[in-house]
Symmetry: C2
Subunit: 329 residues, 2 copies
């Protein structure tokens, strides 16, 4: 069997996760990592991984079936995916929900011109959570959607804490409110405010002599990030932060609560939940499964931009249709 040849564009936590996820799949091989940094400055997770300068990427046209883009959604992907897709089939994890239609249009136009395929916004939200919202809505058209995130580290909120004067380091966890989650699970269909759904827990290392009360107040009242939430601030030492908060766990829940029957008298609840030891490693695993689907999409004559909504689930698996029906159906 011909292995699927993959490339990684960008090597941070996500690129590292993709490198590791590819190694778990026998039908794939990693051709190389492309980085802005000098190859000798990139320390890969696995010994055999090749690293190439970004500007050599075009030499690999025809040698890579699917490029997996591992840059950020704020500035990298809006430029990188439409550019890269003029040469390669691409997968990205673009996750700025409000800008997905715009990004889709840009990637679709470039891909159709080049005759390539791109699957955008792959990961868990957008991604697996979106799929579960879609399935839930289709199966229970009379119902209500709920998405809870956490417990997990929010990179954006952690960055916001670290910008507060007097803060040396910090980490923020988004935590779903158990009572709210339980009410949804019980089919009570509550209307929930932002504050009722999630709390925010901050672990902060203050600089020597800093005014802790002011830091706490500045965090708790920060617009957009914390003001609409019940926020707890714990001051800890750098040693404690490094020891107890080094990971990047995340997770969450998508629920669909709906009714059937002659008068909506029958209640149903569908729940999809994930508990992730590492947010980037799981996102990477999703990207890699969809890279396989992208290769199938090419084989089926696909062209343009796609999302997880467009991909037949069977294409994510290395198994044949007959194997899947016999083993997993």
């Amino acid at each position: 069997m011909q292995k699927i040849k993959l490339g990684i564009l960008g090597y941070g936590n996500l690129g590292r996760g993709v490198e590791l996820a590819i190694a778990q799949n026998d039908d794939m091989e990693l051709v190389g990592v492309f980085s802005r940094r000098k190859p000798e400055n990139v320390k890969t997770a696995l010994a055999g991984t090749k690293v190439y300068p970004l500007d050599t990427m075009n030499d690999f046209v025809g040698k890579i079936d699917v490029m997996i883009l591992c840059g950020g959604s704020a500035t990298d992907l809006p430029k990188q995916t439409p550019e890269c897709i003029s040469k390669f089939n691409c997968i990205d994890s673009f996750d700025t929900h409000a800008k997905i239609p715009e990004h889709f249009a840009a990637v679709d136009a470039a891909a159709k011109q080049a005759g390539t395929v791109g699957i955008i916004s792959v990961g868990w939200d957008p991604g697996m959570f979106s799929l579960n919202r879609l399935y839930g809505n289709a199966l229970l058209p009379q119902g209500k959607d709920y998405t809870f995130w956490g417990k997990g580290v929010s990179q954006g909120h952690s960055d916001a804490i670290r910008r507060v004067e007097g803060v040396a380091d910090g980490k923020q966890y988004t935590v779903p409110v158990t009572d709210a989650l339980d009410a949804v699970r019980a089919g009570k269909n509550p209307d929930l405010t932002t504050r009722q759904k999630h709390t925010r827990e901050c672990f902060v290392v203050a600089k020597p002599g800093a005014d802790l009360a002011r830091i706490e107040n500045e965090i708790k009242t920060m617009p957009n990030y914390f003001a609409d939430y019940d926020t707890t601030v714990h001051f800890i030492s750098q040693e404690e932060l490094d020891r107890d908060h080094a990971g990047i766990p995340h997770g969450g829940f998508v629920l669909r609560s709906g009714a059937t029957g002659v008068n909506g008298e029958t209640a149903h609840v569908i729940e999809y939940g994930i508990k992730l030891g590492s947010n980037p490693e799981f996102t990477a695993s999703v990207l890699v499964a969809y890279a396989r689907a992208a290769a199938r999409l090419v084989a089926h004559g696909g062209k343009g931009a796609y999302t997880v909504f467009d991909i037949p689930p069977a294409w994510l698996s290395p198994k044949s249709g007959a194997e899947l029906r016999a083993e997993l159906l």
Copy 2:
């Protein structure tokens, strides 16, 4: 917009559920129910529903886009689906897992000859649970699968109880073992025996003067059905059974526990769970969503047999790709 025209073949609990589910979807219309019984003996859930004799079905060729088969898997569907598909696009909920490959082959051959499409084994298990096993395996290739059923009514086990001498009526609930479920959720990857995963709870109405101890013993030691489980038997009155156990609730959980990282050091758990007020009404809702997908499949030139694994999730929804990306991605 042209509505999708649907037919229902077979009118029991499932057919009734399909009738109700179609009424929840504005892009569909129910042409009629086809039944072995005389139309005047079929009492439909909704006033406007038309009922036709089974042998008039062929008069509807070209007037029904998709026929939804609501017969049983033991004797009805193995004959009905391959027959019906020679005239109509079909959806069924064939759920004898071991015989799916055989049923698929029969439906596929007949559909390819007729130029129609069939989506088989649609529901929740097989169906939504299968999809979640597939997604879980594809995303976390190094991992373990767990499926728990319940708490819910098992028709087969309830029938088995009622065949015991001295039993007037009875109902059986399959109950997942909380400790086992919690161990899986905690990422402990336990190896679980049949007995460790589920218990069976029986509510039995004994005939007057029957030997209760013998009935209880016969149930608990019944091979295949109860002998491999911890079973509880409650004797209650017919009034209590009718009052407290009239519903057909069900549900369950599909979990995938897996590891990523350089040495599998990062643990992840994915869980899909459903709590259904009515097993047949939910199964019906799944069938109806896949009937929409079957209509799309026809529009895309599909021919032959398919399963939930082959269907792009977007096809289940009445919304356009642009709407789905803007609202649910």
